[in-house]
Structures are given as structure tokens and as C-alpha cells.
């Protein structure tokens, strides 16, 4: 057993987990506070990636492109909230699902119109190319390591904001008793727009970091969205802690499963059988995990108490 390979895949799993967390945090916040199912969250991720590529081309500076892409995604998120989604908070979840599904179709086409359907190439910025030596004889791509660090930093930032600031207090209060917060005279509409924008920015951050690693193309948001939904269901809707735990677990299980299930299977069944069953089973792993968690805890691991 090549232990270095295992460590490397664990790091990859952590990297995927961290990106899932960026998406999950925004989505679970929006759900917990506004009771809103936002399927278009993946579109914001996609926009982050596209904006980053576009701004890099425009300004030539990686740093500038990151800042601009984040801002742009934040603005788009808030615009969408104000224009299309605000009136839907009081409606039932089916309406949310349908409306945001419509937005997905719209954004995917919009992106195709602007940039075409072919995958765009996003390059790893030269400053972050290269490798870092994690262990003797294990060189890990610097870019991926940076993603992990950024993700953990954001997690820490979120923790501080949610538990130490007034905004965070409003968020926690809103998650457990929305009507009470409104009754206390807090400008609920503004709070909602801010939360939504914040979530959009997080998704955009995930998208722009993901660009160089995964393909930038229309529909990229939906692929990761499903995994994010699994994360939230496992972690418990409305809970940031749940989002973090769920994200890391899902990231690990998915990555390690895809890397090692086939070879592990091949030790017990024929290589041919492992070849065809391995990938199929690996792709099912996180869903089996979700089913297992739900069996024992239908509300997820850390459900935010809601009323």
C-alpha cells in the first residue's frame, strides 16, 4: 500500500471538502434563515469561475481578477435576490425549486451566449504553480494546498462572524426564530439581502478557485450542487458546523472512494468485475453515506433548532 498516495488523496479529499464547504455554508445559511431552497447556488459558483477568467483576461492581474470576480458575484447575487427571489420567501418550497430551476436554465444559457459552450481554460496563476513538499518524498501541488488554507481560513472567519459579531447573532437568531427577529425591529429585508449576497460571494470564491482544477463550462454548477445538497442533508440544514463536518466527510469519502475502491475491489473479485463495478460503486458512495446518516438521524448530524 503506497502510503504517500493515501496521504495525497486525503489531501485531495480535504481540498474537495473545503470547496464543498464554501458552497454549503452559503446554501445552508440561506435555507436556515430565509427558509429558501436555492438551487441556483451552483450558478453563482459558475459565474465566479467565468468572471475570474474574464477579469484575468481584462486586467492581466490574478489578484485583481479575484477581487473583481468576488465583487461581481456578490452583486449578481444581491440583484437576483432583490429582483427575482424576494417575493418567494413566503411561498412553499416547490415554488422556490421551480423558480431557481428557471434561473439555472437562464444562467447556463447566458454564459453560453457570452462565452460559448466549449470549456474555457483557466490557468493556475504562476505564483501559485509548483509544488510544496508536505512530507519527505511527497510533493503536493501548491495551488491545491492554498485552496485548503483559504477554505479553512474562511471557515474560521465564519466562525468568528457567526459567534462573535452582531451580524452573526442576528443570523443565529434568524435561523432559529425568524418571526421573532423581525418583530424585534431588525431590518429583515436588508439582512436577507446581505446574507444572500454573502452566500453568493462564498459560492463565487469556490468557483473561481475551482476554475483551474475543474472544467469551466455551462452546467458546472449543477454537478457540484448535488454534492453540496448531500453535504447539507448530512450536516443538518441551517448549521454551519454541520456544513463543515459534512463537507469534509463527503469530500474525503468521495475522493478516497474514487481512488481506492476499484483497487480494493480487485483484491476480492476479478479485475474485470472491479473495472466495471468499481467506478459505479464509487459514485454511489456518498449517497449511500447520506442514506445511512438519514436512517439514524433524519435531521442530519447537527440540525439547527428551528421554529
Amino acid at each position: 500500500m503506497n502510503w504517500l498516495l493515501v496521504v495525497e488523496q486525503c489531501l485531495n479529499g480535504l481540498q474537495l471538502g473545503v470547496m464543498l464547504f464554501l458552497m454549503a455554508a452559503g446554501l445552508t445559511l440561506v435555507f436556515g434563515i430565509m427558509n429558501f431552497v436555492n438551487l441556483a447556488h451552483g450558478s453563482l459558483y459558475m459565474l465566479g469561475a467565468y468572471f475570474a477568467v474574464a477579469f484575468l483576461k481584462w486586467t492581466g492581474s490574478f489578484a485583481a481578477s479575484v477581487v473583481l470576480a468576488l465583487l461581481a458575484t456578490l452583486v449578481v447575487g444581491m440583484l437576483v435576490e432583490v429582483i427575482a427571489l424576494r417575493t418567494l420567501y413566503e411561498r412553499d418550497h416547490l415554488d422556490h425549486v421551480l423558480a431557481t430551476f428557471g434561473l439555472i436554465l437562464f444562467f447556463n444559457e447566458l454564459v453560453a451566449i457570452a462565452w460559448g459552450r466549449a470549456a474555457l481554460f483557466a490557468s493556475v496563476p504562476p505564483a501559485l504553480g509548483g509544488f510544496v513538499e508536505i512530507l519527505p518524498r511527497l510533493r503536493y501541488p501548491l495551488y491545491r494546498a492554498v485552496i485548503i488554507l483559504v477554505g479553512l481560513a474562511v471557515a474560521l472567519l465564519l466562525y468568528v462572524v457567526v459567534s462573535r459579531t452582531r451580524l452573526g447573532m442576528l443570523i443565529r437568531a434568524g435561523a432559529s426564530n425568524r418571526t421573532m427577529v423581525a418583530a424585534l425591529g431588525v431590518n429583515i429585508r436588508l439582512l436577507y439581502t446581505v446574507v444572500f449576497g454573502f452566500g453568493a460571494a462564498l459560492a463565487g470564491l469556490g468557483g473561481l478557485m475551482a476554475g483551474p482544477i475543474y472544467t469551466v463550462q455551462p452546467g458546472m454548477g449543477e454537478e457540484i450542487l448535488i454534492e453540496v445538497l448531500v453535504v447539507i442533508v448530512i450536516g443538518g440544514i441551517g448549521s454551519i458546523r454541520g456544513a463543515l463536518v459534512g463537507a469534509v466527510v463527503v469530500g474525503m469519502v468521495d475522493t478516497l472512494g474514487r481512488a481506492f475502491l476499484k483497487p480494493m475491489l480487485a483484491t476480492v473479485v476479478s479485475p474485470a468485475a472491479a473495472d466495471s463495478a468499481g467506478p459505479a460503486l464509487a459514485s454511489m458512495l456518498i449517497y449511500i453515506l447520506m442514506a445511512a446518516v438519514l436512517y439514524f438521524r433524519p435531521q442530519g448530524l447537527f440540525p439547527a433548532t428551528r421554529s
Binding site: 435555507f31 431552497v37 427575482a84 417575493t87 418567494l88 418550497h93 416547490l94 415554488d95 425549486v97 421551480l98 423558480a99 430551476f101 428557471g102 434561473l103 439555472i104 436554465l105 437562464f106 444562467f107 447556463n108 444559457e109 447566458l110 453560453a112 451566449i113 449543477e222 448535488i226 445538497l229 448531500v230 447539507i232 442533508v233 440544514i237 473495472d275 466495471s276 467506478p279 459505479a280 464509487a282 459514485s283 454511489m284 449517497y287 447520506m290 442514506a291 438519514l294 436512517y295 433524519p298 435531521q299 442530519g300
Partner: protein, 315 residues
């Protein structure tokens, strides 16, 4: 009263559908035959979803998975030389029903937004499984070796015969669906949507009824999938992609959910719109997207609700 009107509307629609092949022949546009047959197949899928979504209030976002299973249940036996529809189609319904049983057994223990996300996730799981199984085409999908054989004069290779077979199935489904909704079972399903805690309080073990409805809907979805495979003679795992589930859901809502006839209208409207729009621009989804949002925001009763006197829902 609502029932009488619905029955009349459905008869009119079925009569219109029956006339399409004749019209298509007159104007020498066999394409319409194909298009309306496709509409009817999706109408079958949409009606099956309406049972659990419109009447049962279960927002299942994974219905396309059952169509996919049904399609593969036709294509895979065909690959191995089994072409009889009397084997393939019951198999399609049985396998989809079984998948619905497994998915439902887990998903129905949750509710609300969890339920939506979980049905979505499980359906997508099946999609990923479909992609990764190479012997069955994987990502590229597979061709249907031969259309299902019904035997005797019923040759699905003949476009007209195939059309009327699908029409017959749709008609039977609407008739049976109507009876089921009015029967004890349908009443329970509708009441569960209205107030599930009350149902439990008066003595109904609601889970078993919801699960049964879920399985029935899945099985009929599988039949739609079997027909779809015959229609396109080609299938890919993308039939099971969650955006396809979204399309079917849109058809139900667009047409008017909880009306049985609405989904038929919705399927027609959706596919006709797609047809017209895609002739204008390849980016027709940029129009469909906002259109959907508007329908949700402003026309909740769907097309059925816009018809004169259509506002009174099923009772």
C-alpha cells in the same frame, strides 16, 4: 362539476390527439406524428408525477430516474435478443417500481426540503451509476437494437401503429388515474397532502400509503421510459439527469398540478414551446428560464387554471 368538465376536456384532447396522424398525413408532415407522440409519452410521465406531486404533495425531484430505468429495461434485453414488449414493458415497470420502493422507503422518512434534496440526490446517483457502467454504453448511451414487439398486427415500426398504441396507453392511464383519485386510496393521498398529522391522529398509517403512491408513480414513469426508448431508439444516462426531472416537474406545474389533465396540457405546451423556440434560437433555454420564473410567480394554477372555469381544482 369540476369532474364533469375535466372529463369533457380530456375527451376533447384525446379526440384531438387521435386526429393528429390524419392531419399530419393531409399536410404531408410526418414530423408532427413524431412530435405529438413524444408529447404523449411525456404526458404519461407528467401524469405519473402529478399523482405524487399534485395530489400527494410530495415534491419528488428525481422522477426522470424512473424513465431512465424503464428505457434501459427495454434496451438491455433488446441487446441480448429479447424483444417482446410483453417482457420488456412489465420489466420496466417492475424495476422502476422497485427503485421507487427503495428510494421512497428512505426519502419518505423525511419531509419538506430534506425530501426534495434527497430525491434529487438519489436520482442523480442513478445517473452517475448509469454513466459508469461501460457495458451499457456509459456516457455515450446505447442504441435500441429493435423496437419492442407487441406481436401480431401491432408493429411499433409503423409510426401510425406506434402512435395509437401510445395514445391508447395515455387514455387508459387517464381513466384509471381518475378512478384512483376518487377511490379510497386517492382520497387518502389527497388528505395526507392537506393535513398529514390529522390523518395520523384519526388512524391512518400514512407512510405506507405515501410509499405505495410513490411506487405506482415510479412504475408508470418506467412505462413512459420504455415508450421513450422506442420513440428515440437511442438512450443515454442523460435521460435520468436531474434537469430532466426538472423538465417533467415543469410540465406538471405549467399545465396545472393536481388536475390529471393539466400535466397533459403542460407536456404539450412545454414541448411545443421548445420546438418553436429552438427554431428561432439555439439559446431557447434563456427564454424558457425566465418564463418559468414568471409562471411560478404569477400563474400558479397553470394553463388549466387559465381555462374558463378552470380555477376549481379537483375534488
Amino acid at each position: 362539476m369540476a369532474r364533469r368538465r375535466r372529463a369533457l376536456a380530456m375527451l376533447a384532447a384525446l379526440a384531438a390527439l387521435a386526429a393528429i396522424p390524419l392531419v399530419a398525413g393531409l399536410v404531408n408532415q410526418p414530423f408532427y406524428l413524431d412530435l405529438f407522440r413524444r408529447i404523449m409519452i411525456f404526458a404519461i410521465a407528467a401524469v405519473s408525477l402529478d399523482i405524487i406531486l399534485g395530489y400527494g404533495g410530495m415534491v419528488s425531484f428525481g422522477h426522470a430516474a424512473y424513465l431512465g430505468i424503464g428505457a434501459y429495461a427495454v434496451a438491455i434485453p433488446a441487446l441480448h435478443g429479447v424483444h417482446s414488449a410483453w417482457v420488456q414493458w412489465p420489466l420496466a415497470m417492475a424495476l422502476s417500481g422497485l427503485a421507487a420502493l427503495a428510494i421512497g422507503a428512505i426519502s419518505l422518512r423525511t419531509s419538506g426540503v430534506y425530501f426534495i434534496m434527497i430525491t434529487l440526490a438519489f436520482a442523480q446517483m442513478l445517473y452517475y451509476v448509469g454513466i459508469s457502467i461501460e457495458p451499457w454504453g456509459g456516457d455515450d448511451g446505447m442504441r435500441l437494437a429493435r423496437r419492442s414487439q407487441l406481436g401480431g398486427p401491432l408493429d411499433l415500426g409503423d409510426p401510425h401503429v406506434f402512435y395509437y398504441v401510445v395514445l391508447a396507453i395515455l387514455a387508459v392511464l387517464l381513466l384509471v388515474g381518475d378512478r384512483v383519485i376518487q377511490a379510497r386510496f386517492g382520497t387518502v393521498i389527497r388528505a395526507v397532502k392537506s393535513n398529514e398529522p390529522r390523518m395520523r391522529a384519526i388512524g391512518f398509517s400514512t407512510l405506507r400509503y405515501k410509499l405505495a403512491a410513490f411506487v405506482l408513480a415510479g412504475a408508470v414513469g418506467g412505462l413512459a421510459g420504455a415508450l421513450l426508448a422506442n420513440q428515440t431508439e437511442y438512450l443515454t444516462p442523460s435521460y435520468m439527469h436531474w434537469t430532466r426531472s426538472g423538465d417533467i416537474m415543469v410540465m406538471v406545474i405549467l399545465g396545472g398540478m393536481g388536475t390529471l389533465a393539466g400535466p397533459v396540457l403542460g407536456a404539450a405546451a412545454f414541448l411545443l414551446l421548445e420546438n418553436v423556440l429552438s427554431a428561432w434560437t439555439v439559446h431557447w433555454q434563456a427564454i424558457l428560464g425566465p418564463l418559468l420564473v414568471l409562471v411560478v410567480l404569477y400563474a400558479r394554477g397553470g394553463l388549466w387554471g387559465l381555462l374558463p372555469g378552470g380555477a376549481s381544482r379537483d375534488d
